[in-house]
Amino acid sequence: MKLTRLARLAGQSIRKNKMRTLLTMLGVIIGVAAVIVMVAVGQGAQSQIRARIDKLGTNLIMVTPGSSASGGVSQGAQTFNRLTVKDVEAIRAGSTLITGISPVILAPTQAITANGNWRTLVYGVSTDYPTIRDWSISSGMLFTENDVRTSRKVALIGKTVADGLFAGSDPVGQTIQLRHVPFEIIGVLAEKGQTAEGSDQDDIIIAPYTTVQNRLQGRQFIGQIIASAATRSDIPLAEAEIRSAMRASHRLGAADNDDFTVRDQTDLAKTAQETTRVMTWLLAAIASISLLVGGIGIMNIMLVSVTERTHEIGIRMAVGARGSDVLKQFLVESTVMSAVGGLIGVAVGWLTAIVLRLITGWQTAVSPQTVIIALVFSATVGIFFGYYPARKAAALNPIEALRYE
């Protein structure tokens, strides 16, 4: 039979049985839409998790004084306290791969205001620090390079400190006494929550490291230097750059061991990779189940449809349809329905993903691969699950089919 006639017969049949057509397509629509939404949401969740992990600072490089091995005798880290601001300048000058660097000077301090006092840690840092540790500022602003240079007595306080000392009122512009030195509060840090170990990250005050050194500590050495690389893959090279800059700065000879330690957060990165891998598998599993359910739905309806259409098949055979004509018609019908259902499913899935993005704010991404896989699947399902019922229909005995009511 000519394809145009076949298409006409199949088209008539599809249009005339709207309920059956809808039910058949529903399986594909749900399957395809589910796959697209699941994958979109999953990818959104995945990037969300990655962003969270990045917040912990996966691209972080830490330099601490001392070395774990010195002349064959293990000394442990921080044996020698020999990190200075000079080292920070040396690294900044000697490295091209780091995007920010900051000394970290810790000064445990009793902070006093008119409202009361609070025991907390003051971090003396550079202007790069908030970027490196992914701190954002909820009100006010950060101190400037000029503030650092001139050791201005300005500070930013964490949420816990703000709540403890300025409950209800805006701390920005007020004065806080740190070791009897008045600091102007110029900003409040956004809430970060607890670390995995349970310590409160928001119980913090940050101030220019120069001010902390001069006003709160009076010492030249600094406890730690932190830096960040642009991407994870840059970390090994960035570490090498830092190491050579540090060795030059400390005038270490070829035979001397490092008197400092450079570390990164390999554990966190591993966790991130592992999480991504698990998420990928989870998505694949959910998608396959959705597709399988959709396919079985189609086959069920097609099988029921053969039974329901037995009499119609009998009529067609009585007026001269051959088995192959019936087979082809059924195949065309199921393929068309699956393809149309697939397209509708893509549209429904896409819209749902957009709506979900608006509601949750997640980055739900509908990738072209997902769409192509879903469409190819739906067409395949149509032919595959349509073939068995079609063959069943083609093999019917015309007399029995005619007699069937």
Binding site: M1, H311, I315, M317, A318, A321, I399, L402
Partner: protein, 250 residues
């Protein structure tokens, strides 16, 4: 004249196997039908008339014997060949009309033309329309089956049977689902078509219906027990005129 012969069967037999029991539905039927005949095949249920009808209609195959249709031996043909014979040589009219549901009259009539393997009709739509005109349904072409009365549905089925210009029209209890007046209307159409040269075989168990044909073949227990011309043949058109008038069909 041998070319006047449309159907010839020679000791046609059909045995059904039901488990271990063998049931002989036809036990050697010899039948010869010439062009232009109008035959009623009669008999009580179980006489084998439906089985004969299915074999003559190439829906079923005889167990033994020979069947010649329009000069060609058709017993022993393959499924696809039989489908082509049904399509080209035979027009069916059934008791239950057997129209496709939710389908317009013209689409139903066009159906056999679409399955024509030889693709003889360029404009199948026009052929279907002419067949509908011939049965007086030119104004109902685009009505769906459910929008037509029983008599109109049967006329659509007759148009479908005529569409491929078959050698013979087989009708199985064509008036079984119709009231008396509509039955006679359908018979009037049959007589009109027969007068125009169409060979017709009508299976019925009603003697009244047989009176409108030209020849009665009666079956009993798989044998032909009577085969004689109809005397005092009735004219359906005249009977219809004599009937009390009825409001026109919607």
């Amino acid at each position: 004249m041998p070319d006047q012969e449309v159907i010839r069967t020679e000791t046609l037999q059909r045995v059904f196997h039901m488990g271990h029991v063998q049931v002989a539905a036809l036990r050697g039927v010899n039948l010869r039908v010439e062009r232009g005949e109008m035959i009623a095949i009669m008999g009580p249920s179980g006489s084998g008339k439906s089985t004969l009808m299915n074999i003559l209609g190439c829906l079923d195959q005889p167990t033994a014997g020979a069947y010649f249709l329009d000069g060609r031996r058709v017993d022993g043909l393959s499924r696809d060949e039989l489908a082509a014979v049904r399509n080209q040589k035979i027009g069916f009219v059934f008791q239950g009309f057997n129209l496709l549901p939710r389908t317009q009259a013209i689409d139903n009539v066009e159906l056999p033309l679409l399955y024509d393997v030889r693709d003889q009709h360029r404009d199948t739509r026009a052929v279907a329309a002419r067949a509908l005109e011939r049965v007086g349904l030119a104004d109902r072409m685009h009505h769906e089956s459910s929008e037509l009365s029983g008599g109109q549905q049967q006329r659509v089925a007759i148009a479908r049977a005529l569409a491929t210009n078959p050698a013979i029209l087989l009708a199985d209890e064509p008036t079984g689902n119709l009231d008396t007046r509509t039955s006679i209307e359908v018979l009037a159409l049959f007589q009109e078509l027969n007068d125009a040269g169409i060979t017709m075989l009508i299976v019925t168990h009603e003697h009244d219906i047989a009176l409108y044909t030209k020849r009665v073949v009666e079956l009993r227990d798989g044998h032909v027990v009577r085969d004689e011309p109809v005397r005092n043949r009735r004219n359906a058109a005249q009977d219809l005129a004599a009937m009390p008038p009825e409001p026109a069909e919607a």
